[in-house]
């Protein structure tokens, strides 16, 4: 800025002789044409200025500027409306998102509950089945044990008979006679002594 001023000042200084020369050597009365106030063109210029500036003021204030103001106002309203609509849309989106989240959470909870229930049911069923199976198994084991005991008893009964018969036969061969009752008692005694009663 100072540079510019210095330049302007310097050029003005350089100009002074030229301006002075120009200012004096002039045909129509000399001096600046702007200061020739007795010129009828000067007065006319002012009258026309007033008319033309009045015209400009009328055009601007009555026609042009209200229109510009209207356009600016329309734009301002439009932008405000758009902003409001955008805000509302955002609120709706937020609400939808919240609802969606709640629904997801609810569904998850429900699913978890269903899983837990199904699991519990399955476990109970499995436990029940296992118990029934055990019971049946136990019954079968008991029955089998009973059968084994019966078989053994039968086997033991047969053993006594065979022992008595064998002993009688042996005794009769050795002595020539045999007392059936005494042999049976002796076998009984012997068996008891060996623990096979």
């Amino acid at each position: 800025m100072t540079k510019r001023i210095r330049l302007a000042a310097a050029s003005l200084l350089a100009l002074l002789p030229a301006i002075a020369h120009a200012a004096e050597g002039h045909g129509e009365g000399g001096g600046m044409p702007q200061l020739r106030f007795n010129d009828p063109l000067m007065l006319a210029q002012i009258v026309w200025l007033l008319i033309i500036f009045g015209l400009l003021y009328y055009i601007m204030s009555a026609i042009a500027l209200p229109r510009v103001a209207e356009v600016l106002e329309t734009r301002r309203r439009r932008i405000e409306g758009d902003l409001e609509a955008a805000q509302q849309a955002k609120q709706r989106a937020d609400a939808a998102l919240a609802e969606h989240r709640a629904a997801t959470a609810r569904a998850r909870a429900e699913a978890q509950a269903a899983i837990a229930q199904a699991m519990g049911q399955a476990q109970a069923e499995a436990a029940q089945k296992a118990e029934a199976f055990n019971e049946r198994l136990n019954a079968q084991i008991e029955e089998a044990e009973k059968r084994i005991a019966a078989a053994r008893d039968a086997a033991m009964g047969a053993l006594r008979q065979v022992s008595a018969d064998t002993a009688e036969a042996l005794v009769s061969r050795l002595t020539g006679r045999a007392d059936r009752a005494a042999v049976t008692r002796a076998v009984e005694r012997e068996l008891q002594a060996r623990g096979h009663a």
Binding site: L15, A22, Q34, L41, L49, L50, I59, S61
Partner: protein, 250 residues
């Protein structure tokens, strides 16, 4: 212009009737023709430029809108809310002077703001408007403007004449500032551009010698574009400040 080696820097300010016999009969000069051109260009800009009323403005509409908003900001910023009532006046004044200054920078055109009579009448319109606004709003109380509150009564004989003179000299300062800036700029422009022609006609050396004044002319022209805007702005903002004083009294 460089007739017989003389520089006629002031011929450009000469008033000449235009539009033939009709123009001569009503003394319609080229100065008035450029005023009319300014009004036509402004109307084209502000009415035709805005005619599409687009939400997203085109170039011309953006120009019209930004000039509207620029001056509106200036008016309401300086005067306050009451500035809206004076906005059309300040807008007309600013754009009229701006276009006068800018049109004057087109070669062979005429700068109507380089006439003291024109700038003085514009300043006088401002002065009369400011005074009327002050009187209408404040009545007789308006004259307390010339004596600041709290000043010692003893100094009244000194302060009041000073304030009145400074109030009256607004017309002179407002008009002379614009007039002098425009005249000085255009005289310098024509002198340097005449140098280019004079030196340039002096053979081969002259062509190189003419480079310097040509450069100066170019720089000056750019500077004058700035001045054209600045002086219109100064005129408008001072008008707004004076209106603020009239509306608010200090």
């Amino acid at each position: 212009m460089a007739a017989e080696g003389k520089i006629d820097a002031l011929h450009q300010f000469e008033l000449e009737p235009v539009f033939g016999a009709i123009g001569r009969s009503v003394n319609f000069t080229q100065s008035n023709a450029f005023m009319l051109l300014a009004v036509i260009l402004l109307s084209v800009l502000m009415i035709w430029g805005m005619s599409r009323r687009a939400i997203v403005p085109g170039r011309l509409q953006a120009l019209a809108e930004s000039s509207y908003e620029f001056v509106h900001e200036l008016a309401t910023g300086q005067i306050g809310d009451e500035g809206r009532r004076f906005f059309p006046f300040i807008f007309s004044l600013f754009m009229f002077i701006l276009l006068g200054n800018l049109l004057g920078l087109i070669p062979y055109s005429f700068t109507f703001t380089s006439h003291i009579a024109v700038t003085f009448v514009l300043a006088a319109i401002v002065f009369v408007l400011v005074t009327i606004v002050g009187l209408v709003i404040h009545g007789w109380h308006f004259f307390t403007y010339f004596f600041p509150q709290g000043a010692p009564k003893l100094l009244a004989p000194l302060i009041i004449p000073i304030e009145v003179i400074s109030y009256l000299s607004r017309v002179v300062s407002l008009s002379v500032r614009l007039f002098a800036n425009m005249v000085a700029g255009h005289v310098m422009l024509i002198v340097f551009s005449t140098f280019v022609v004079m030196i340039g006609s002096a053979g081969v050396i002259g062509i190189f010698g003419a480079a310097l004044p040509l450069l100066v002319t170019s720089v000056l022209y750019a500077f004058e574009l700035l001045v054209a805007f600045l002086q219109a702005y100064v005129f408008a903002i001072l008008t707004a400040i004076y209106l603020h004083d009239a509306v608010h009294l200090h």
